[in-house]
Symmetry: C2
Subunit: 245 residues, 2 copies
DNA sequence: AAGTGGTCTAGACCACACC
DNA sequence: GTGTGGTCTAGACCACTTC
């Protein structure tokens, strides 16, 4: 049964391609951005739009569901779908392995383990990980170089109870960053970004003046209810984290 | 080799709920995180999984499509689906209106427009916006206060050709940030985050010492091929941008 | 109680990439 | 050519929320 799925005005007819939901989404976005549908306004029901576009309700649902995910629409059962009043744009940041991040910028990668010891963490770290203060953790410090320039200083605490294998890994040659990404999938975590004036240790390691503005990433990851690792990355001045919207 | 999880007939219960694709996704994630499916390994085809789970192929597709979006799987037509070798975790950052950001932290919001003029931008701004250097733009400087403390300094260039209405807006009382979010949906853009030592102007406006580490957000937005605005936000020391993974 | 979105199904066709 | 994922359909049932 061939479906003549071509009715919205005079679309130059990609009826041969299966881009229907994306075209519908583009049209809905147009109606919002051109203020044909105003912020806060109730938009037609899925069934009505399906009739208008001559497609199945599932196709409309796909288009609108993704718009709701990206913050453009608010949808509630029974209450219907409304144009978001404050369209919260969501930016998606990739959190890559540092080596790949550096190499993708066309630079050479080198890694140096500065220290590795098993010890009890300071209270602030224990609290973040929700572990007893006397719990012994693996404490690592390392530098990642880009074209032989210090690029990022890594200060990491790992909970061996969550990933015991890490105690046997040769961390001189493979960074904990990379090993953990490949071997310890986490189920949840959080990340924060901030700026911070370099303290002496950071300045010395990164080869910059004390007080230089460093871009700081702090990340905490969990496997179920077990904390895996807490890491603080200090990026050399000049670093920018970039993404498209 | 089939696994006969004897679930096809005797689904314990959740047949009453419609959580099927999410449950399937959770099971697939379990197989990856417990290394039943190894990184780089080809996983069964959609049809095979549909048979195994006793569901339609579309349900498997929904589960796996979202896993591919979040970087856990790599999918290619004909080549099949593989477990990602370097699971690039993606963090989703909300980019809210500054006022709402401050208020959601439980603080009071105040806004002060420092300057507003129509002028030609410096070359670096014109280049970023891909406009001729002599194009006249609206240049705004403003501060957003949180509990009467300077929170972020906003330095913005707006292209009136893209949003002529902004010339008539009372920007003393409503920030360009908020007006643009509500009135000038963009179709694409990019954003970058970095750290930067406060120069004198920033230090004075934010009430901090020169050289303090500031968290910088630079954002550029487009409506189709027309540049809308380029903005640089300098956050007071102590600011952290946070998200869950 | 009723209306709306969320999800599922069984089948179909197609685009794309590998052969 | 051929196999895999990407998408679409028409219909169905259900969950959630508001009435």
């Amino acid at each position: 049964m061939n479906v003549s799925r071509n009715n919205i005005a005079s679309q130059p007819d990609n009826s041969s391609t299966s881009m229907s939901w994306q075209k519908i989404q583009a049209e809905l976005i147009r109606r919002i951005s051109e203020r044909i549908w105003l912020p806060g306004e109730l938009v037609p029901r899925e069934i009505e739009l399906a009739e208008e576009f001559g497609c199945a309700r599932a196709t409309i649902n796909r288009a609108m569901r993704e718009m709701a995910n990206s913050g453009l629409l608010n949808r509630r059962r029974k209450a219907g779908t409304r144009v978001a009043i404050n369209p919260v744009r969501k930016a998606t940041l990739d959190i890559p392995v540092i080596r790949l991040d550096i190499e993708s910028r066309g630079a050479s990668y080198r890694y140096l383990l500065l220290s590795k010891e098993i010890t009890t963490p300071p209270p602030v770290i224990a609290n973040r990980l929700m572990l007893a203060i006397k719990t012994e953790l693996l404490h690592l410090k390392a530098v990642h170089f880009s074209d032989d320039q210090p690029f990022v200083f890594e200060d990491r605490w790992v909970n061996p109870a969550a990933v015991p294998e890490i105690l046997d890994v040769d961390l001189e040659n493979k960074s904990a960053n990379e090993w953990l990404v490949q071997n310890a999938l986490f189920t949840s975590g959080d990340i924060s970004f901030s700026a911070h004036n370099a303290i002496e240790e950071e300045a010395e390691i990164l080869g910059v003046a004390a007080g230089a503005a460093l871009f700081i990433v702090e990340r905490l990851t969990w496997l179920g209810t077990a904390p895996i690792t807490s890491v603080r990355l200090s990026y050399s001045p000049g670093f920018k984290m970039h993404t498209d919207l």
